[in-house]
Protein backbone atom coordinates (compact mmCIF):
# COMPACT_ATOMS: atom_id res chain seq x y z
CA UNK A 1 0.00 0.00 0.00
CA UNK A 2 2.79 2.45 0.94
CA UNK A 3 5.36 0.93 -1.36
CA UNK A 4 5.11 3.85 -3.78
CA UNK A 5 5.59 6.50 -1.07
CA UNK A 6 8.41 4.50 0.48
CA UNK A 7 10.34 4.24 -2.77
CA UNK A 8 9.65 7.92 -3.52
CA UNK A 9 11.32 8.96 -0.24
CA UNK A 10 14.01 6.30 -0.62
CA UNK A 11 14.92 7.50 -4.10
CA UNK A 12 15.47 11.02 -2.78
CA UNK A 13 17.07 10.43 0.62
CA UNK A 14 18.51 6.92 0.45
CA UNK A 15 17.79 6.29 4.12
CA UNK A 16 17.43 2.54 4.09
CA UNK A 17 21.10 1.64 4.10
CA UNK A 18 22.11 3.89 7.05
CA UNK A 19 18.95 2.76 8.82
CA UNK A 20 19.95 -0.83 8.24
CA UNK A 21 23.41 -0.11 9.60
CA UNK A 22 21.87 1.32 12.79
CA UNK A 23 19.12 -1.22 13.33
CA UNK A 24 20.49 -4.43 11.87
CA UNK A 25 23.70 -4.70 13.74
CA UNK A 26 24.92 -8.10 14.87
CA UNK A 27 24.90 -8.97 18.53
CA UNK A 28 27.75 -11.02 19.99
CA UNK A 29 27.10 -14.65 20.84
CA UNK A 30 28.01 -14.32 24.51
CA UNK A 31 25.09 -12.13 25.60
CA UNK A 32 22.53 -13.62 27.99
CA UNK A 33 19.04 -12.76 29.17
CA UNK A 34 20.68 -10.77 31.96
CA UNK A 35 21.80 -8.27 29.32
CA UNK A 36 18.15 -7.32 28.74
CA UNK A 37 17.71 -5.13 31.81
CA UNK A 38 19.15 -2.01 30.22
CA UNK A 39 16.90 -2.32 27.19
CA UNK A 40 13.91 -3.05 29.42
CA UNK A 41 14.64 0.11 31.39
CA UNK A 42 14.60 2.06 28.15
CA UNK A 43 11.34 0.35 27.20
CA UNK A 44 9.72 1.42 30.47
CA UNK A 45 11.07 4.91 29.83
CA UNK A 46 9.18 4.98 26.52
CA UNK A 47 6.01 3.84 28.30
CA UNK A 48 6.50 6.57 30.91
CA UNK A 49 6.90 9.17 28.18
CA UNK A 50 3.74 8.03 26.38
CA UNK A 51 1.53 7.87 29.47
CA UNK A 52 3.17 10.99 30.91
CA UNK A 53 2.28 13.01 27.80
CA UNK A 54 -1.35 11.92 28.13
CA UNK A 55 -1.36 12.79 31.84
CA UNK A 56 0.06 16.22 31.04
CA UNK A 57 -3.09 16.95 29.03
CA UNK A 58 -5.25 16.45 32.13
CA UNK A 59 -3.12 17.33 35.15
CA UNK A 60 -3.08 20.76 36.76
CA UNK A 61 -0.09 21.59 38.97
CA UNK A 62 -1.85 23.85 41.46
CA UNK A 63 -2.66 22.94 45.07
CA UNK A 64 -6.37 23.69 44.66
CA UNK A 65 -6.90 21.49 41.62
CA UNK A 66 -4.03 18.99 41.37
CA UNK A 67 -5.77 16.24 43.30
CA UNK A 68 -9.21 17.00 41.82
CA UNK A 69 -7.83 16.83 38.31
CA UNK A 70 -6.36 13.37 38.93
CA UNK A 71 -9.54 12.12 40.60
CA UNK A 72 -11.50 13.41 37.63
CA UNK A 73 -9.05 11.88 35.14
CA UNK A 74 -9.35 8.48 36.78
CA UNK A 75 -13.09 8.65 37.32
CA UNK A 76 -14.42 10.33 34.19
CA UNK A 77 -11.95 9.95 31.33
CA UNK A 78 -12.11 6.64 29.45
CA UNK A 79 -8.98 4.57 30.19
CA UNK A 80 -7.86 7.29 32.61
CA UNK A 81 -7.37 4.76 35.40
CA UNK A 82 -5.26 2.56 33.15
CA UNK A 83 -3.10 5.40 31.85
CA UNK A 84 -2.37 6.79 35.30
CA UNK A 85 -1.74 3.42 36.91
CA UNK A 86 0.58 2.34 34.09
CA UNK A 87 2.53 5.55 34.73
CA UNK A 88 2.56 4.97 38.49
CA UNK A 89 3.53 1.29 38.35
CA UNK A 90 5.88 1.89 35.41
CA UNK A 91 7.80 4.29 37.61
CA UNK A 92 8.38 1.56 40.20
CA UNK A 93 9.25 -0.93 37.46
CA UNK A 94 11.78 1.48 36.00
CA UNK A 95 13.58 1.93 39.33
CA UNK A 96 13.71 -1.84 39.85
CA UNK A 97 14.93 -2.51 36.30
CA UNK A 98 17.58 0.20 36.40
CA UNK A 99 18.82 -1.32 39.66
CA UNK A 100 18.96 -4.83 38.16
CA UNK A 101 20.80 -3.44 35.14
CA UNK A 102 23.33 -1.81 37.41
CA UNK A 103 23.82 -4.99 39.45
CA UNK A 104 24.40 -6.96 36.24
CA UNK A 105 27.00 -4.48 34.98
CA UNK A 106 28.66 -4.56 38.38
CA UNK A 107 28.71 -8.36 38.70
CA UNK A 108 29.97 -8.76 35.12
CA UNK A 109 32.59 -6.10 35.87
CA UNK A 110 31.55 -4.44 32.64
CA UNK A 111 32.36 -1.00 34.10
CA UNK A 112 36.11 -1.54 33.79
CA UNK A 113 38.40 0.05 31.25
CA UNK A 114 37.47 1.21 28.63
CA UNK A 115 33.87 1.60 29.84
CA UNK A 116 34.34 3.74 32.97
CA UNK A 117 32.76 6.79 31.36
CA UNK A 118 29.64 4.87 30.48
CA UNK A 119 29.34 3.77 34.11
CA UNK A 120 29.55 7.43 35.15
CA UNK A 121 26.82 8.40 32.68
CA UNK A 122 24.79 5.42 33.91
CA UNK A 123 25.02 6.58 37.51
CA UNK A 124 23.87 10.02 36.34
CA UNK A 125 20.88 8.37 34.66
CA UNK A 126 20.15 6.45 37.87
CA UNK A 127 20.03 9.76 39.73
CA UNK A 128 17.67 11.15 37.09
CA UNK A 129 15.36 8.13 37.42
CA UNK A 130 15.29 8.58 41.20
CA UNK A 131 14.68 12.30 40.62
CA UNK A 132 11.67 11.41 38.44
CA UNK A 133 10.40 9.19 41.23
CA UNK A 134 10.84 11.84 43.92
CA UNK A 135 9.30 14.72 41.93
CA UNK A 136 6.49 12.59 40.51
CA UNK A 137 5.51 11.38 43.96
CA UNK A 138 4.43 14.87 45.04
CA UNK A 139 2.23 15.57 42.02
CA UNK A 140 -0.96 13.73 43.16
CA UNK A 141 -0.95 16.21 46.07
CA UNK A 142 -2.57 13.92 48.61
CA UNK A 143 -1.53 13.40 52.24
CA UNK A 144 1.03 10.72 51.37
CA UNK A 145 2.60 12.84 48.64
CA UNK A 146 2.74 15.94 50.85
CA UNK A 147 4.31 14.29 53.86
CA UNK A 148 6.69 12.12 51.86
CA UNK A 149 8.04 15.21 50.14
CA UNK A 150 8.18 17.01 53.46
CA UNK A 151 10.32 14.20 54.87
CA UNK A 152 12.44 14.04 51.72
CA UNK A 153 13.18 17.75 51.79
CA UNK A 154 13.91 17.62 55.53
CA UNK A 155 16.47 14.90 54.80
CA UNK A 156 18.06 17.24 52.27
CA UNK A 157 18.17 19.84 55.05
CA UNK A 158 20.31 17.60 57.26
CA UNK A 159 23.27 17.88 54.87
CA UNK A 160 25.90 20.07 56.57
CA UNK A 161 26.23 23.67 55.36
CA UNK A 162 24.62 23.32 51.90
CA UNK A 163 21.59 21.31 53.09
CA UNK A 164 19.31 24.22 53.96
CA UNK A 165 19.99 26.29 50.84
CA UNK A 166 19.44 23.26 48.59
CA UNK A 167 16.28 22.33 50.48
CA UNK A 168 14.94 25.86 50.07
CA UNK A 169 15.87 25.84 46.41
CA UNK A 170 13.91 22.64 45.79
CA UNK A 171 11.05 23.73 48.02
CA UNK A 172 10.91 27.24 46.59
CA UNK A 173 11.19 28.81 50.04
CA UNK A 174 10.93 27.74 53.64
CA UNK A 175 7.44 26.18 53.42
CA UNK A 176 6.12 23.41 51.24
CA UNK A 177 3.33 24.79 49.05
CA UNK A 178 2.15 25.80 45.61
CA UNK A 179 5.63 26.79 44.44
CA UNK A 180 7.01 23.42 45.54
CA UNK A 181 4.36 21.69 43.47
CA UNK A 182 5.15 23.84 40.42
CA UNK A 183 8.90 23.32 40.83
CA UNK A 184 8.52 19.59 41.07
CA UNK A 185 6.18 19.60 38.08
CA UNK A 186 8.63 21.65 36.02
CA UNK A 187 11.48 19.32 36.94
CA UNK A 188 9.36 16.25 36.28
CA UNK A 189 8.05 17.17 32.84
CA UNK A 190 10.67 19.51 31.37
CA UNK A 191 14.12 19.46 32.92
CA UNK A 192 14.56 15.82 33.91
CA UNK A 193 13.22 14.40 30.60
CA UNK A 194 15.59 16.62 28.61
CA UNK A 195 18.58 15.57 30.69
CA UNK A 196 17.51 11.93 30.53
CA UNK A 197 17.21 11.91 26.75
CA UNK A 198 20.65 13.49 26.50
CA UNK A 199 22.11 10.96 28.92
CA UNK A 200 20.49 8.06 27.07
CA UNK A 201 21.95 9.21 23.74
CA UNK A 202 25.43 9.33 25.30
CA UNK A 203 24.88 5.97 27.01
CA UNK A 204 23.80 4.26 23.78
CA UNK A 205 26.44 5.92 21.61
CA UNK A 206 29.15 4.68 23.95
CA UNK A 207 27.75 1.13 23.91
CA UNK A 208 27.81 1.22 20.11
CA UNK A 209 31.35 2.56 20.04
CA UNK A 210 32.76 0.19 22.65
CA UNK A 211 30.61 -2.88 22.13
CA UNK A 212 29.19 -5.13 24.82
CA UNK A 213 31.76 -6.26 27.36
CA UNK A 214 33.12 -9.80 26.97
CA UNK A 215 32.22 -12.18 29.78
CA UNK A 216 34.67 -12.60 32.61
Amino acid sequence: MFKGSFSWVEERLGLSSPAKRVMDHPVPRYITWLHCFGGLTFFTFLIQVTTGIILAFFYVPTPDHAHESIVWFQGSVPFGTIVRNVHRLGASAMVILVFLHMVRVFVHAAYRKPRELNWVVGVGLLMLVLGFGFTGYLLPWDQKAYWATNVGLNIVGTVPVVGDPIGNLLRGGPTLGSLTLLRFYGLHVFLLPLLTVGGLLLHFAMIRKQGIARPL
Binding site: T50, H65, F73, F79
Partner: protein, 214 residues
Protein backbone atom coordinates in the same frame (compact mmCIF):
# COMPACT_ATOMS: atom_id res chain seq x y z
CA UNK B 1 43.62 -3.40 22.20
CA UNK B 2 45.82 -5.94 20.49
CA UNK B 3 43.01 -8.19 19.39
CA UNK B 4 41.13 -6.63 16.52
CA UNK B 5 37.40 -6.91 16.99
CA UNK B 6 35.86 -8.46 13.96
CA UNK B 7 32.24 -7.76 13.20
CA UNK B 8 30.44 -11.04 12.68
CA UNK B 9 29.48 -11.32 9.07
CA UNK B 10 25.91 -11.65 7.96
CA UNK B 11 24.75 -15.19 8.51
CA UNK B 12 23.81 -17.05 5.39
CA UNK B 13 20.67 -18.93 6.18
CA UNK B 14 19.26 -21.59 3.92
CA UNK B 15 16.18 -20.49 2.10
CA UNK B 16 16.60 -16.74 2.69
CA UNK B 17 17.99 -16.11 -0.73
CA UNK B 18 15.81 -18.68 -2.43
CA UNK B 19 13.77 -17.03 -5.15
CA UNK B 20 10.29 -16.27 -3.96
CA UNK B 21 7.57 -17.91 -5.96
CA UNK B 22 5.41 -15.18 -7.43
CA UNK B 23 1.85 -15.36 -6.14
CA UNK B 24 -0.46 -16.29 -9.01
CA UNK B 25 -2.89 -13.45 -8.50
CA UNK B 26 -2.73 -10.23 -6.51
CA UNK B 27 -5.80 -10.73 -4.38
CA UNK B 28 -6.97 -9.04 -1.21
CA UNK B 29 -4.72 -8.52 1.82
CA UNK B 30 -5.68 -11.82 3.44
CA UNK B 31 -5.04 -13.75 0.23
CA UNK B 32 -1.69 -12.03 -0.22
CA UNK B 33 -0.72 -12.69 3.40
CA UNK B 34 -1.65 -16.34 3.10
CA UNK B 35 0.19 -16.79 -0.16
CA UNK B 36 3.33 -15.08 1.17
CA UNK B 37 3.19 -17.26 4.27
CA UNK B 38 2.80 -20.46 2.30
CA UNK B 39 5.05 -19.80 -0.69
CA UNK B 40 8.09 -18.33 1.10
CA UNK B 41 10.05 -20.86 3.13
CA UNK B 42 9.90 -20.14 6.85
CA UNK B 43 13.38 -19.47 8.14
CA UNK B 44 14.52 -18.79 11.66
CA UNK B 45 15.26 -15.19 10.76
CA UNK B 46 11.90 -14.65 9.11
CA UNK B 47 10.10 -16.21 12.07
CA UNK B 48 11.93 -13.97 14.53
CA UNK B 49 11.36 -10.87 12.41
CA UNK B 50 7.66 -11.63 12.19
CA UNK B 51 7.36 -12.38 15.90
CA UNK B 52 9.22 -9.22 16.81
CA UNK B 53 6.99 -7.18 14.51
CA UNK B 54 3.72 -8.55 15.85
CA UNK B 55 4.80 -8.36 19.50
CA UNK B 56 5.88 -4.76 18.95
CA UNK B 57 2.56 -3.98 17.30
CA UNK B 58 0.70 -5.57 20.23
CA UNK B 59 2.66 -3.54 22.79
CA UNK B 60 2.15 -0.32 20.85
CA UNK B 61 -1.57 -1.07 20.66
CA UNK B 62 -1.80 -1.96 24.36
CA UNK B 63 -0.24 1.35 25.40
CA UNK B 64 -1.29 3.49 22.47
CA UNK B 65 -4.99 2.71 22.22
CA UNK B 66 -5.88 3.59 25.84
CA UNK B 67 -3.65 6.66 25.59
CA UNK B 68 -5.23 7.79 22.33
CA UNK B 69 -8.78 7.22 23.56
CA UNK B 70 -8.09 9.10 26.79
CA UNK B 71 -6.62 11.98 24.83
CA UNK B 72 -9.46 12.15 22.30
CA UNK B 73 -12.33 11.64 24.77
CA UNK B 74 -12.75 15.31 25.86
CA UNK B 75 -13.69 16.12 22.26
CA UNK B 76 -16.72 13.84 22.57
CA UNK B 77 -18.18 15.43 25.70
CA UNK B 78 -21.82 16.41 25.35
CA UNK B 79 -23.24 19.79 26.11
CA UNK B 80 -24.89 19.86 29.48
CA UNK B 81 -28.64 20.21 29.71
CA UNK B 82 -30.82 21.74 32.33
CA UNK B 83 -33.27 24.54 32.85
CA UNK B 84 -32.01 27.92 34.00
CA UNK B 85 -34.38 30.72 35.11
CA UNK B 86 -34.37 33.86 32.93
CA UNK B 87 -36.78 35.88 35.03
CA UNK B 88 -40.31 36.43 36.26
CA UNK B 89 -42.93 37.33 33.67
CA UNK B 90 -44.81 39.72 36.00
CA UNK B 91 -43.37 42.25 38.46
CA UNK B 92 -39.69 41.95 37.52
CA UNK B 93 -37.24 42.48 40.32
CA UNK B 94 -35.22 45.73 40.19
CA UNK B 95 -32.54 45.54 37.54
CA UNK B 96 -34.26 42.67 35.75
CA UNK B 97 -35.67 43.13 32.23
CA UNK B 98 -39.44 43.42 31.90
CA UNK B 99 -40.43 40.28 30.03
CA UNK B 100 -44.11 41.29 29.80
CA UNK B 101 -43.46 43.70 26.90
CA UNK B 102 -44.96 42.11 23.82
CA UNK B 103 -43.35 41.54 20.40
CA UNK B 104 -40.16 43.51 21.06
CA UNK B 105 -36.74 41.86 21.53
CA UNK B 106 -35.70 42.29 25.16
CA UNK B 107 -32.09 41.85 26.17
CA UNK B 108 -31.83 39.45 29.09
CA UNK B 109 -29.50 36.85 30.53
CA UNK B 110 -29.53 33.70 32.59
CA UNK B 111 -26.95 31.90 34.68
CA UNK B 112 -25.94 28.42 33.66
CA UNK B 113 -24.04 26.18 36.04
CA UNK B 114 -21.57 24.22 33.94
CA UNK B 115 -19.27 21.56 35.34
CA UNK B 116 -15.97 22.19 33.63
CA UNK B 117 -14.04 18.90 33.78
CA UNK B 118 -12.40 18.74 37.22
CA UNK B 119 -13.83 22.10 38.25
CA UNK B 120 -17.06 22.09 40.21
CA UNK B 121 -20.09 23.66 38.52
CA UNK B 122 -19.10 27.16 37.47
CA UNK B 123 -21.69 29.89 36.97
CA UNK B 124 -21.68 31.07 33.39
CA UNK B 125 -23.54 34.18 32.33
CA UNK B 126 -25.43 33.67 29.06
CA UNK B 127 -26.79 36.73 27.24
CA UNK B 128 -29.97 36.32 25.20
CA UNK B 129 -32.74 38.19 23.44
CA UNK B 130 -36.28 37.29 24.49
CA UNK B 131 -39.37 38.10 22.43
CA UNK B 132 -42.72 37.72 24.16
CA UNK B 133 -45.42 36.85 21.62
CA UNK B 134 -48.11 36.75 24.32
CA UNK B 135 -50.06 33.74 25.49
CA UNK B 136 -46.88 32.25 27.03
CA UNK B 137 -45.28 31.96 23.57
CA UNK B 138 -41.69 33.14 23.39
CA UNK B 139 -38.66 33.25 21.17
CA UNK B 140 -35.35 33.02 22.99
CA UNK B 141 -32.42 33.95 20.77
CA UNK B 142 -28.79 33.23 21.55
CA UNK B 143 -27.01 36.58 21.47
CA UNK B 144 -24.10 35.26 19.43
CA UNK B 145 -24.08 35.92 15.72
CA UNK B 146 -24.02 32.65 13.75
CA UNK B 147 -21.07 33.89 11.71
CA UNK B 148 -18.23 34.14 14.23
CA UNK B 149 -20.03 34.58 17.53
CA UNK B 150 -20.03 38.36 18.06
CA UNK B 151 -22.90 39.61 20.25
CA UNK B 152 -25.78 40.99 18.20
CA UNK B 153 -27.83 43.98 19.29
CA UNK B 154 -31.40 45.03 18.50
CA UNK B 155 -31.67 48.24 16.44
CA UNK B 156 -35.04 49.71 17.34
CA UNK B 157 -35.18 52.27 14.51
CA UNK B 158 -34.16 49.86 11.75
CA UNK B 159 -36.10 46.96 13.25
CA UNK B 160 -33.34 44.39 12.91
CA UNK B 161 -30.51 42.72 14.79
CA UNK B 162 -27.02 43.84 13.86
CA UNK B 163 -23.74 42.05 14.52
CA UNK B 164 -21.04 44.74 14.87
CA UNK B 165 -18.14 42.63 13.63
CA UNK B 166 -18.97 42.01 9.96
CA UNK B 167 -22.36 43.69 9.63
CA UNK B 168 -24.42 40.54 9.84
CA UNK B 169 -28.11 41.56 9.84
CA UNK B 170 -31.03 39.44 11.11
CA UNK B 171 -34.74 40.20 11.12
CA UNK B 172 -36.97 39.92 14.17
CA UNK B 173 -37.58 36.19 13.50
CA UNK B 174 -33.81 35.64 13.30
CA UNK B 175 -33.60 35.19 9.50
CA UNK B 176 -30.45 36.44 7.79
CA UNK B 177 -31.06 39.70 5.96
CA UNK B 178 -27.50 40.46 4.97
CA UNK B 179 -23.84 39.96 5.71
CA UNK B 180 -21.86 36.77 6.14
CA UNK B 181 -23.93 34.74 8.70
CA UNK B 182 -24.52 31.22 7.32
CA UNK B 183 -27.80 30.47 9.16
CA UNK B 184 -30.50 32.22 11.22
CA UNK B 185 -29.95 33.02 14.88
CA UNK B 186 -29.75 30.06 17.25
CA UNK B 187 -32.59 29.50 19.72
CA UNK B 188 -32.87 28.25 23.28
CA UNK B 189 -35.61 25.91 24.35
CA UNK B 190 -37.90 27.59 26.87
CA UNK B 191 -40.62 26.76 29.32
CA UNK B 192 -42.82 28.76 31.68
CA UNK B 193 -43.33 27.45 35.20
CA UNK B 194 -45.02 29.33 38.05
CA UNK B 195 -44.72 32.59 36.15
CA UNK B 196 -41.00 32.17 35.57
CA UNK B 197 -39.41 31.81 32.13
CA UNK B 198 -36.69 29.16 31.88
CA UNK B 199 -34.06 28.60 29.19
CA UNK B 200 -33.02 25.09 28.16
CA UNK B 201 -30.94 23.58 25.40
CA UNK B 202 -29.45 25.59 22.55
CA UNK B 203 -30.48 24.56 19.02
CA UNK B 204 -30.00 25.66 15.44
CA UNK B 205 -32.70 26.35 12.88
CA UNK B 206 -32.66 26.28 9.09
CA UNK B 207 -33.77 29.07 6.76
CA UNK B 208 -37.43 28.00 7.18
CA UNK B 209 -36.89 28.44 10.96
CA UNK B 210 -37.38 24.72 11.54
CA UNK B 211 -35.27 23.13 14.23
CA UNK B 212 -32.33 21.15 12.80
CA UNK B 213 -30.25 20.13 15.83
CA UNK B 214 -31.88 17.48 18.04
Amino acid sequence: MARSRKEPTQMSLPGVDAPRAKPPKRGGPIRRLRSSLTTTPMTRRRFLEGTLGWVTAAIVAAVGIPAAIAWVSPALRKQQEGWAPIGKLEDPEPGQPDLSVLNVPIEAHFTQFVRDAYLEAQPQNVAIYVINHGDEKFTVFDIRCTHLGCPISWKEEEGHFLSPCHNGVFDQEGRVLGGPPPRPLDHYEYKVENGVLYAGKLYEVNDELQRVTP
